[in-house]
């Protein structure tokens, strides 16, 4: 598997995971009723990637909305990244938020406080 790609929908984000390049992008809205079902394949892809991780792994999370059902699944994704980081690939999580969206910035800081991986808070102009 070189790539894991999922198209976005009104309730789920687009996912673009380039395993050869070590780049994972999650973009859009994440408000499904059943988040576990949506995120499980991504967690599995990260599992596969972890056995042959690149020296650096770059993650971009750019969410417009996410529900609390997704928040736990996103934490699971970050925990996988934490173990990949421990395993020798240097992981950076870029958390994007829109200029006026303090709630989204705060959500990123919540994850930053829990997960032992370098975070970058990236402000996006609307």
């Amino acid at each position: 598997m070189d790539k894991y790609v999922i198209e976005g929908t009104p309730k789920t984000p687009s996912i673009n995971f380039d395993l050869n390049g070590g780049v994972l992008e999650i973009k859009g809205r994440s408000i499904p009723e059943n988040s576990i079902e949506f995120y499980k394949p991504l967690v599995d892809a990260l599992d596969k990637y972890s056995s042959a991780a690149k020296s650096a792994t770059t993650v971009h999370v750019q969410l417009e909305y996410f529900n609390t059902s997704s928040s736990k699944c996103i934490l699971d994704v970050f925990k996988k990244l934490e173990s990949i980081n421990k395993g020798g690939s240097s992981v950076t999580i870029n958390w994007h938020y829109e200029e006026d969206d303090e709630d989204m910035l705060e959500a990123g800081e919540d994850y930053q406080a829990i997960i032992n991986v370098p975070f970058k808070m990236v402000m996006v102009n609307e």
Partner: protein, 191 residues
């Protein structure tokens, strides 16, 4: 000509209309809460807020809180068909706007045996300050049990954090088996 209808049994539609008008209701729904319905309600409300040229910041807050309220109804509504003649999966949802504030009202049946658990979550959330809520959120996020349905009160904590308001709720006892749970939420510009 005399009407064949027994007027006393009919709904006073105008009365309902006037009540909604007085309360500036933008959208209301009563019935079964399905996944497709949630998608439609969210789409309608998003369009309405765009048309009303709502501040992006407030629009996002309202949208986020709406998602949590509606998904609470979708996931946690008790099936009371075994113990009551009432329509089992039915709930009410209303959203209004008054003087720049959005008001979200939800109502659904709950089994009396489940009240104390929900009440303890609500009271816990209401007892906490902004900073304490942030810590509580992180604690439940990191340690809480997650089911297919959601995350052990995370939705209520999130609503309280995003609105900066106490959760205004009530349990109206219908009989010895079921009650009607109502939640009123106010969303304003301030954080």
């Amino acid at each position: 000509m005399q009407s064949n209808f027994d007027v006393s049994n009919m709904l006073d539609v105008f009365e309902i209309y006037e009540k909604m008008e007085q309360n500036n209701i933008l959208l209301s729904f009563k019935g079964e809460i399905t996944s497709d319905l949630l998608t439609s309600i969210l789409q309608i409300m998003e369009n309405k807020m765009v048309n009303m040229q709502e501040e992006p910041k407030l629009k996002k807050k309202v949208y986020n809180v709406l998602v949590e309220c509606l998904q609470n109804l979708y996931h946690h509504m008790d099936d009371i068909s075994e113990v009551s003649h009432e329509n089992n999966r039915s709930a009410i949802f209303m959203i209004g706007k008054n003087q720049g504030k959005y008001l979200i009202y939800t109502g659904n049946y709950i089994l009396n045996e489940n009240i104390s658990r929900l009440k303890s979550v609500l009271d816990e959330v209401n007892s906490l300050s902004k900073e304490e809520l942030k810590d509580y959120y992180k604690k439940v996020l990191n340690n809480g049990e997650m089911s297919m349905k959601g995350g052990g009160g995370l939705g209520m904590i999130d609503i309280a954090r995003k609105t900066g308001e106490k959760l205004d709720y009530d349990f109206l006892e219908i009989d010895n088996k079921v009650s009607f749970f109502t939640l009123n939420i106010k969303v304003t510009q301030q954080n």
